[in-house]
């Protein structure tokens, strides 16, 4: 539904977005992931015509955003939840949106309820909103026109854990009903649980894209790691070492460079009782850090 082709945006000699291409499909949540300053916001701003592209183009459902009549009815946009008049109440902000789009006032109450803002909160001025409340209001604003495409820039920012879970459910349901969702984040764990597709960006360039499985398979050089704790750790370590598997102690247990199934089998053969066995799920995180390594502010050790 969203198609980005060869998008480049330069600020003077600095290239904020560098030849970026990707596609967001309906019925799927696409996560746009990258460290601070990677170019996520700039890409999304170009999508809705707020920033002109230096080269390349973006179409939404085959249209340039500027050509979509009453675009709020087709594309829900949340770029910056704070970019609203601080002196207006939450409700007034939604009212202005609804009036512009030609929607009945009943839609405003529906959206306030949908994002779990109380009627009293909706009567407060935006300057008295917490960041999380602003995000909820922003999501309500984006959903006002019942759009089929959602473009959300860091919507989970400032939400409490319950809020993040709520948003996950909301966007999942939205995509299951056929909607297209593009949401950005600089935090992997925010995106990986909700996104069907992931686009990793660093330094303005796409460094990887695909679903979680494809991404992990692409990074096959990552050796499976398992954390295991046994009643008799030294015995297990010895049995694993005998098979030529690398073992190191980690906390109460061991860090083993092998699949969990292999560790379990070894424990069975050595008749060692296991109290904990799990795959180190840092695969995606490692991949993320590795792919964006030259763009990180802190070097990964």
């Amino acid at each position: 539904m969203i198609e980005v082709v060869g998008l480049t945006r330069k600020y003077g000699s600095f290239t904020a977005v560098d030849d970026v291409s990707f596609v967001c499909q309906p019925g799927r949540v696409t996560g746009f992931l990258g460290p601070n300053g990677a170019g996520k916001t700039t890409t999304m701003r170009v999508m809705v015509g707020l920033t002109p592209a230096t080269a390349g183009r973006v179409t939404i459902g085959g249209h340039v955003y500027q050509d979509i009549p009453n675009p709020g009815r087709h594309v829900g946009v949340l770029l910056d939840a704070s970019a609203q008049h601080a002196g207006r109440t939450g409700r007034e902000i939604l009212e202005i949106g609804a009036r512009t789009m030609g929607l009945p006032d009943s839609r405003i109450d529906e959206m306030i309820e949908l994002v779990s803002l109380t009627p009293q909160e909706a009567k407060r001025r935006l300057r008295n909103y917490s960041l999380g409340m602003k995000q909820r209001l922003g999501i309500a604003h984006a959903l006002l026109g019942d759009p089929s495409v959602l473009i959300l820039d860091e919507p989970a920012n400032g939400l409490d854990p319950a809020g993040i879970r709520w948003m996950r459910g909301l966007l999942r349901g939205y995509a299951e009903r056929g909607g297209t969702v593009l949401l950005s984040s600089h935090l992997l764990h925010e995106v990986e649980q909700i996104a069907d597709e992931m686009i990793l960006i660093g330094n303005g360039r796409i460094v990887a894209q695909g679903d979680k499985k494809t991404l992990l398979a692409g990074a096959a050089k990552g050796i499976a790691t398992t954390f295991v704790t046994a009643l008799d750790n030294p015995a297990l370590a010895a049995a694993l070492s005998a098979k030529g598997i690398t073992v190191a102690s980690a906390g109460d247990g061991l860090r083993v460079e092998a699949e969990a199934v292999e560790v379990g089998r070894t424990a069975l053969e050595a008749t060692v009782v296991l109290t904990d066995l799990r795959s180190a799920d840092g695969g995606l995180e490692d991949l993320f850090l590795e792919l964006t390594a030259d763009t990180q502010r802190e070097t990964v050790v």
């Binding site: 085959g62 009815r73 007034e92 202005i96 512009t100 030609g102 089929s148």
Partner: protein
């Protein structure tokens, strides 16, 4: 690699946002915040206060004679100053409060949003003029009751039209400077310099330099608006008005407009 088919979106059933709806939304935005509301209310209040003070002076001082037109002229100290500020705020508040991001994503055809704001500005100018005319009528009527001076109703169509044009021009000039600078304090300062400091400099230049005295009417927009106040515009005055107005109103408006249309909205 983009061999993936990207589904299209059917937009044929959606009508573009009607222009009048945009005007209504922009009108609402002009008064629905505290700042906006009080700016409008103060403009009307200041207009009334200045006229009442003027009337009090006229009634208490024997050597002061007032007419309907002198009451209208007092708006130089009220709406003539604040209407341009309203014009400025209509536009710059979108930048200072960063609401332009939302406004332009809901209506990416930016000229429509800007023109809707301009229409709101013009409507507000007309409302201000109507209020000023009403207040001047009331004050002049009270004045004739309270003072011994003869009542003078020197209103004419030419006066009224000139007065309206003056206020509209003031509003538009504020709007033009706002579009040029997209910043509230900067636009207000520049407007104040333009309307209070520049005339003095022009006057000085005209006194000191003969050649400047000759070209001054063509480039001094404030000066060119003088005859409008007295409704004594001649053909030549209109030529001055058009030429200087082109420099101070049309040029900034066009440059400002194109700036807003191309600006990256942050």
């Amino acid at each position: 690699m983009s061999t993936v088919t990207v589904p299209t979106m059917d937009i044929s059933g959606t009508a573009p946002t009607p222009f009048l709806r945009l005007v209504r939304v922009e009108a609402r935005k002009a008064y629905d915040t505290r700042a906006g509301f009080w700016l409008l209310v103060s403009t009307a209040l200041l207009c009334a206060i200045v006229m009442v003070i003027q009337m009090a002076i006229g009634v208490s001082q024997d050597d002061v004679f007032l007419s309907y037109n002198s009451f209208l002229t007092s708006t130089n100290f009220s709406i003539a100053i604040l209407l341009p500020v309203i014009g400025i705020m209509l536009l710059t508040s979108e930048w200072s409060q960063r609401t332009a991001m939302v406004s332009f994503s809901l209506e990416p055809r930016r000229p429509r949003v800007i023109v809707a704001k301009l229409v709101v500005g013009l409507v507000l100018a007309v409302i201000a003029v109507v209020i000023a005319l009403l207040l001047a009528t009331i004050c002049n009527a009270l004045y004739s009751v309270l003072s011994d001076d003869p009542t003078v109703w020197n209103a004419s169509v030419a006066h009224t039209a000139g007065f309206l044009l003056l206020q509209v021009v003031g509003m538009l000039t504020g709007f033009a400077f706002a579009a040029l600078l997209l910043n509230t304090p900067a636009a207000i300062v520049i407007y104040m310099v333009y309307s209070f400091v520049l005339p003095g400099l022009f006057e000085l230049g005209a006194q000191l330099m003969d050649w400047f005295d000759k070209i001054r009417p063509w480039i001094d927009f404030n000066y060119a608006q003088g005859p409008l106040v007295d409704a004594t515009m001649t053909g030549k005055d209109w030529a001055y008005f058009a030429t200087s107005g082109f420099i101070w109103l049309v040029v900034p408006l066009v440059i400002g407009f194109s700036r807003v249309l191309r600006a990256e909205v942050k």
